[in-house]
Protein backbone atom coordinates (compact mmCIF):
# COMPACT_ATOMS: atom_id res chain seq x y z
CA UNK A 1 0.00 0.00 0.00
CA UNK A 2 1.27 3.44 -0.91
CA UNK A 3 1.79 5.79 2.03
CA UNK A 4 0.89 8.80 -0.05
CA UNK A 5 -1.05 9.92 -3.09
CA UNK A 6 -0.77 12.82 -5.55
CA UNK A 7 -3.47 14.25 -7.74
CA UNK A 8 -2.25 16.43 -10.61
CA UNK A 9 -4.54 18.94 -12.31
CA UNK A 10 -3.58 17.99 -15.84
CA UNK A 11 -5.38 20.95 -17.45
CA UNK A 12 -3.51 23.43 -15.22
CA UNK A 13 -0.14 21.68 -15.75
CA UNK A 14 2.33 23.29 -18.18
CA UNK A 15 4.66 20.30 -18.42
CA UNK A 16 7.68 22.14 -17.02
CA UNK A 17 9.05 18.94 -15.40
CA UNK A 18 10.22 20.74 -12.28
CA UNK A 19 8.17 18.37 -10.09
CA UNK A 20 9.68 15.30 -11.73
CA UNK A 21 13.21 15.99 -10.47
CA UNK A 22 11.93 16.99 -7.02
CA UNK A 23 10.38 13.57 -6.34
CA UNK A 24 12.80 11.58 -4.14
CA UNK A 25 11.37 8.23 -5.31
CA UNK A 26 11.13 9.15 -9.01
CA UNK A 27 7.49 8.26 -9.54
CA UNK A 28 6.51 11.17 -11.81
CA UNK A 29 6.90 11.43 -15.58
CA UNK A 30 5.46 13.43 -18.46
CA UNK A 31 2.47 11.95 -20.30
CA UNK A 32 2.67 10.89 -23.93
CA UNK A 33 -0.63 12.71 -24.64
CA UNK A 34 -1.23 16.46 -24.29
CA UNK A 35 -3.77 18.59 -22.41
CA UNK A 36 -6.10 21.25 -23.81
CA UNK A 37 -3.25 23.78 -23.91
CA UNK A 38 -1.05 21.38 -25.85
CA UNK A 39 1.31 20.56 -23.01
CA UNK A 40 2.38 17.06 -22.06
CA UNK A 41 1.41 16.90 -18.37
CA UNK A 42 2.98 15.33 -15.30
CA UNK A 43 1.50 12.09 -14.02
CA UNK A 44 2.34 9.54 -11.33
CA UNK A 45 3.55 6.49 -13.24
CA UNK A 46 4.52 4.51 -10.11
CA UNK A 47 1.79 5.71 -7.71
CA UNK A 48 2.30 2.79 -5.31
CA UNK A 49 5.72 4.20 -4.37
CA UNK A 50 4.43 7.66 -3.35
CA UNK A 51 5.41 8.61 0.20
CA UNK A 52 3.26 11.73 0.35
CA UNK A 53 6.29 13.97 1.02
CA UNK A 54 4.77 16.83 -1.07
CA UNK A 55 8.14 17.84 -2.53
CA UNK A 56 6.64 17.87 -6.03
CA UNK A 57 3.78 20.10 -4.95
CA UNK A 58 6.10 22.55 -3.17
CA UNK A 59 8.11 23.28 -6.31
CA UNK A 60 5.24 23.27 -8.83
CA UNK A 61 5.00 26.91 -9.94
CA UNK A 62 1.40 26.51 -11.01
CA UNK A 63 -0.14 24.89 -7.94
CA UNK A 64 -1.25 21.82 -9.92
CA UNK A 65 -0.52 19.13 -7.34
CA UNK A 66 -2.53 17.99 -4.32
CA UNK A 67 -0.96 15.52 -1.91
CA UNK A 68 -2.40 13.10 0.63
CA UNK A 69 -0.51 11.14 3.27
CA UNK A 70 -1.40 8.35 5.73
Amino acid sequence: MAKGRVEIDRERCKGCEVCIGACPVSILALSSSVNGKGYAYAEAVLPEKCTGCANCALVCPDGCIEVWRD
Binding site: R5, K14, V18, A22, L58, G63, E66, R69
Partner: protein, 243 residues
Amino acid sequence: MEKVYSKPRLLTDAVMHYCPGCSHGTIHKIVAEVIAELGIESSTIGVSPVGCSVFAYKYIDIDWIQAAHGRACAVASAVKRLEPEKMVFTYQGDGDLSAIGTGETIHACNRGENIAVIYVNNAIYGMTGGQMAPTTLVGMKTSTSPGGREVNIHGYPFKVADMVAQLEGVCYVTRQSVHTPASVRKAKKAIRLAFENALAGKGLSFVEVVSSCNSGWKMSPVGANEWMEQNMFPFYKLGDIKV
Protein backbone atom coordinates in the same frame (compact mmCIF):
# COMPACT_ATOMS: atom_id res chain seq x y z
CA MET B 1 -5.45 9.65 3.98
CA GLU B 2 -5.05 13.22 5.10
CA LYS B 3 -4.58 16.05 2.62
CA VAL B 4 -1.14 17.58 3.25
CA TYR B 5 -0.80 19.99 0.33
CA SER B 6 -3.15 21.84 -2.00
CA LYS B 7 -3.10 25.01 -4.04
CA PRO B 8 -2.98 27.93 -1.57
CA ARG B 9 -6.44 29.23 -0.68
CA LEU B 10 -5.56 32.80 -1.73
CA LEU B 11 -4.19 31.74 -5.14
CA THR B 12 -7.04 32.31 -7.60
CA ASP B 13 -8.15 29.73 -10.16
CA ALA B 14 -6.86 31.91 -13.00
CA VAL B 15 -4.13 30.07 -14.90
CA MET B 16 -1.00 32.17 -14.46
CA HIS B 17 0.36 33.58 -17.72
CA TYR B 18 3.96 32.77 -16.71
CA CYS B 19 6.09 30.51 -18.89
CA PRO B 20 6.24 26.85 -17.78
CA GLY B 21 8.61 26.52 -14.82
CA CYS B 22 8.94 30.28 -14.16
CA SER B 23 9.97 31.12 -10.58
CA HIS B 24 7.28 33.82 -10.36
CA GLY B 25 4.54 31.19 -9.92
CA THR B 26 6.33 29.48 -7.03
CA ILE B 27 6.98 32.82 -5.31
CA HIS B 28 3.30 33.81 -5.75
CA LYS B 29 2.29 30.55 -4.08
CA ILE B 30 4.52 31.23 -1.07
CA VAL B 31 3.26 34.81 -0.72
CA ALA B 32 -0.35 33.55 -0.83
CA GLU B 33 0.38 30.90 1.81
CA VAL B 34 2.13 33.29 4.20
CA ILE B 35 -0.66 35.87 3.98
CA ALA B 36 -3.25 33.16 4.71
CA GLU B 37 -1.22 31.71 7.59
CA LEU B 38 -0.82 35.16 9.18
CA GLY B 39 -4.59 35.71 8.70
CA ILE B 40 -3.99 39.13 7.11
CA GLU B 41 -5.70 38.75 3.73
CA SER B 42 -8.15 41.58 4.45
CA SER B 43 -5.43 43.88 5.81
CA THR B 44 -2.71 43.39 3.21
CA ILE B 45 -2.01 45.64 0.22
CA GLY B 46 0.40 44.46 -2.46
CA VAL B 47 2.06 46.73 -5.01
CA SER B 48 2.77 45.00 -8.31
CA PRO B 49 5.42 46.19 -10.78
CA VAL B 50 5.85 46.50 -14.50
CA GLY B 51 7.41 43.30 -15.75
CA CYS B 52 6.16 39.75 -16.10
CA SER B 53 4.58 39.95 -12.64
CA VAL B 54 2.50 43.01 -13.55
CA PHE B 55 -0.64 40.84 -13.27
CA ALA B 56 0.15 39.52 -9.78
CA TYR B 57 -3.17 41.08 -8.74
CA LYS B 58 -5.04 38.54 -10.85
CA TYR B 59 -3.45 35.62 -9.04
CA ILE B 60 -3.33 36.45 -5.33
CA ASP B 61 -6.71 37.35 -3.88
CA ILE B 62 -5.86 40.43 -1.79
CA ASP B 63 -5.94 44.19 -2.43
CA TRP B 64 -3.36 45.44 -4.92
CA ILE B 65 -2.14 48.59 -6.62
CA GLN B 66 -0.21 48.30 -9.85
CA ALA B 67 2.58 50.89 -9.89
CA ALA B 68 4.26 52.61 -12.82
CA HIS B 69 7.55 51.01 -13.84
CA GLY B 70 10.04 51.10 -10.94
CA ARG B 71 7.82 53.15 -8.63
CA ALA B 72 6.48 50.33 -6.43
CA CYS B 73 8.52 51.32 -3.34
CA ALA B 74 7.33 54.93 -3.61
CA VAL B 75 3.70 53.84 -3.99
CA ALA B 76 4.04 51.38 -1.10
CA SER B 77 5.57 54.11 1.10
CA ALA B 78 2.53 56.31 0.53
CA VAL B 79 0.06 53.47 1.06
CA LYS B 80 1.72 52.44 4.33
CA ARG B 81 1.74 56.00 5.65
CA LEU B 82 -1.95 56.45 4.81
CA GLU B 83 -2.93 52.99 6.09
CA PRO B 84 -0.44 52.28 8.90
CA GLU B 85 -2.37 49.25 10.17
CA LYS B 86 -2.05 47.42 6.84
CA MET B 87 0.73 45.06 5.83
CA VAL B 88 2.13 46.62 2.66
CA PHE B 89 4.58 44.90 0.35
CA THR B 90 5.99 45.33 -3.14
CA TYR B 91 6.69 42.53 -5.60
CA GLN B 92 9.26 43.57 -8.21
CA GLY B 93 11.61 42.20 -10.83
CA ASP B 94 15.24 43.25 -11.17
CA GLY B 95 14.56 45.43 -14.22
CA ASP B 96 11.84 47.22 -12.28
CA LEU B 97 13.60 47.51 -8.91
CA SER B 98 17.25 47.86 -9.83
CA ALA B 99 17.16 49.72 -13.15
CA ILE B 100 14.36 52.25 -13.67
CA GLY B 101 13.34 52.10 -9.99
CA THR B 102 16.75 52.34 -8.32
CA GLY B 103 16.09 55.78 -6.84
CA GLU B 104 12.67 54.91 -5.41
CA THR B 105 14.01 51.67 -3.97
CA ILE B 106 17.08 53.13 -2.27
CA HIS B 107 15.24 56.04 -0.72
CA ALA B 108 12.38 53.88 0.59
CA CYS B 109 15.08 51.68 2.14
CA ASN B 110 16.94 54.65 3.57
CA ARG B 111 13.76 56.18 5.02
CA GLY B 112 13.08 52.87 6.71
CA GLU B 113 9.54 52.59 5.40
CA ASN B 114 7.66 49.86 7.25
CA ILE B 115 7.12 47.72 4.17
CA ALA B 116 8.37 44.42 2.77
CA VAL B 117 10.03 44.21 -0.63
CA ILE B 118 10.08 40.97 -2.61
CA TYR B 119 12.73 41.27 -5.27
CA VAL B 120 12.68 38.64 -8.02
CA ASN B 121 16.13 38.68 -9.59
CA ASN B 122 16.32 36.68 -12.81
CA ALA B 123 19.21 38.78 -14.16
CA ILE B 124 17.27 39.84 -17.22
CA TYR B 125 14.26 41.82 -18.51
CA GLY B 126 11.90 38.88 -18.92
CA MET B 127 8.74 40.57 -20.13
CA THR B 128 10.24 42.56 -22.95
CA GLY B 129 12.31 39.77 -24.48
CA GLY B 130 15.34 39.01 -22.38
CA GLN B 131 17.37 42.22 -22.58
CA MET B 132 20.42 42.82 -20.38
CA ALA B 133 19.61 44.20 -16.92
CA PRO B 134 21.93 45.85 -14.36
CA THR B 135 21.94 42.41 -12.67
CA THR B 136 23.03 40.42 -15.75
CA LEU B 137 26.12 38.34 -14.95
CA VAL B 138 29.48 39.11 -16.57
CA GLY B 139 29.68 37.08 -19.77
CA MET B 140 25.96 36.27 -19.75
CA LYS B 141 24.37 36.37 -23.20
CA THR B 142 21.14 38.31 -23.57
CA SER B 143 19.25 39.70 -26.55
CA THR B 144 21.08 43.04 -26.11
CA SER B 145 24.46 41.52 -25.17
CA PRO B 146 24.69 38.70 -27.70
CA GLY B 147 28.43 38.37 -27.10
CA GLY B 148 27.94 38.30 -23.33
CA ARG B 149 28.05 41.15 -20.81
CA GLU B 150 31.39 42.94 -20.95
CA VAL B 151 32.59 44.88 -17.94
CA ASN B 152 34.41 47.54 -19.93
CA ILE B 153 31.24 48.38 -21.86
CA HIS B 154 28.37 47.47 -19.53
CA GLY B 155 29.90 47.68 -16.06
CA TYR B 156 29.48 45.19 -13.25
CA PRO B 157 26.35 43.34 -12.16
CA PHE B 158 24.49 45.18 -9.42
CA LYS B 159 24.13 43.52 -5.99
CA VAL B 160 21.22 45.54 -4.69
CA ALA B 161 20.60 43.43 -1.58
CA ASP B 162 24.16 43.86 -0.32
CA MET B 163 23.93 47.57 -0.93
CA VAL B 164 20.61 48.22 0.83
CA ALA B 165 21.80 46.13 3.79
CA GLN B 166 24.14 49.06 4.58
CA LEU B 167 21.20 51.41 5.16
CA GLU B 168 19.96 51.97 8.69
CA GLY B 169 16.30 51.97 7.71
CA VAL B 170 16.55 48.38 6.54
CA CYS B 171 16.01 45.77 9.26
CA TYR B 172 16.22 42.51 7.30
CA VAL B 173 17.92 41.47 4.05
CA THR B 174 18.10 37.93 2.77
CA ARG B 175 18.74 36.16 -0.52
CA GLN B 176 16.74 33.03 -1.26
CA SER B 177 15.68 30.78 -4.15
CA VAL B 178 12.68 28.55 -4.89
CA HIS B 179 14.04 25.84 -7.18
CA THR B 180 14.05 22.91 -4.71
CA PRO B 181 11.67 21.79 -1.95
CA ALA B 182 14.20 22.84 0.73
CA SER B 183 14.73 26.27 -0.82
CA VAL B 184 10.96 26.81 -1.08
CA ARG B 185 10.60 26.08 2.65
CA LYS B 186 13.41 28.53 3.50
CA ALA B 187 12.11 31.26 1.20
CA LYS B 188 8.70 30.94 2.80
CA LYS B 189 10.18 31.49 6.28
CA ALA B 190 12.03 34.56 4.96
CA ILE B 191 8.89 36.08 3.43
CA ARG B 192 6.98 35.38 6.62
CA LEU B 193 9.62 37.20 8.69
CA ALA B 194 9.58 40.13 6.26
CA PHE B 195 5.79 40.44 6.54
CA GLU B 196 5.96 40.18 10.34
CA ASN B 197 8.59 42.94 10.43
CA ALA B 198 6.39 45.16 8.25
CA LEU B 199 3.46 44.59 10.61
CA ALA B 200 5.60 45.27 13.67
CA GLY B 201 6.93 48.55 12.21
CA LYS B 202 10.57 47.48 12.37
CA GLY B 203 11.62 49.14 9.11
CA LEU B 204 12.04 47.84 5.60
CA SER B 205 12.61 44.13 4.92
CA PHE B 206 14.19 43.11 1.64
CA VAL B 207 13.83 39.54 0.35
CA GLU B 208 15.69 38.82 -2.87
CA VAL B 209 14.70 35.60 -4.63
CA VAL B 210 17.33 34.53 -7.13
CA SER B 211 15.15 33.23 -9.96
CA SER B 212 15.26 31.74 -13.40
CA CYS B 213 13.71 33.12 -16.58
CA ASN B 214 14.01 30.07 -18.78
CA SER B 215 12.41 31.78 -21.79
CA GLY B 216 14.69 34.78 -21.61
CA TRP B 217 17.69 32.59 -20.94
CA LYS B 218 16.64 30.31 -23.82
CA MET B 219 16.82 27.12 -21.75
CA SER B 220 14.45 24.43 -20.56
CA PRO B 221 12.89 25.06 -17.12
CA VAL B 222 14.98 22.34 -15.45
CA GLY B 223 18.09 23.36 -17.42
CA ALA B 224 17.59 26.98 -16.33
CA ASN B 225 17.42 25.96 -12.67
CA GLU B 226 20.69 24.04 -13.08
CA TRP B 227 22.32 26.99 -14.83
CA MET B 228 21.12 29.22 -12.00
CA GLU B 229 22.77 26.96 -9.40
CA GLN B 230 26.04 26.89 -11.33
CA ASN B 231 26.23 30.53 -12.43
CA MET B 232 23.91 32.75 -10.39
CA PHE B 233 24.53 31.34 -6.89
CA PRO B 234 28.33 31.83 -6.88
CA PHE B 235 27.76 35.55 -7.51
CA TYR B 236 24.37 36.09 -5.82
CA LYS B 237 25.16 34.05 -2.71
CA LEU B 238 22.16 32.67 -0.87
CA GLY B 239 21.56 33.35 2.80
CA ASP B 240 20.84 36.13 5.26
CA ILE B 241 22.73 39.39 4.67
CA LYS B 242 21.26 41.37 7.58
CA VAL B 243 19.03 40.11 10.40
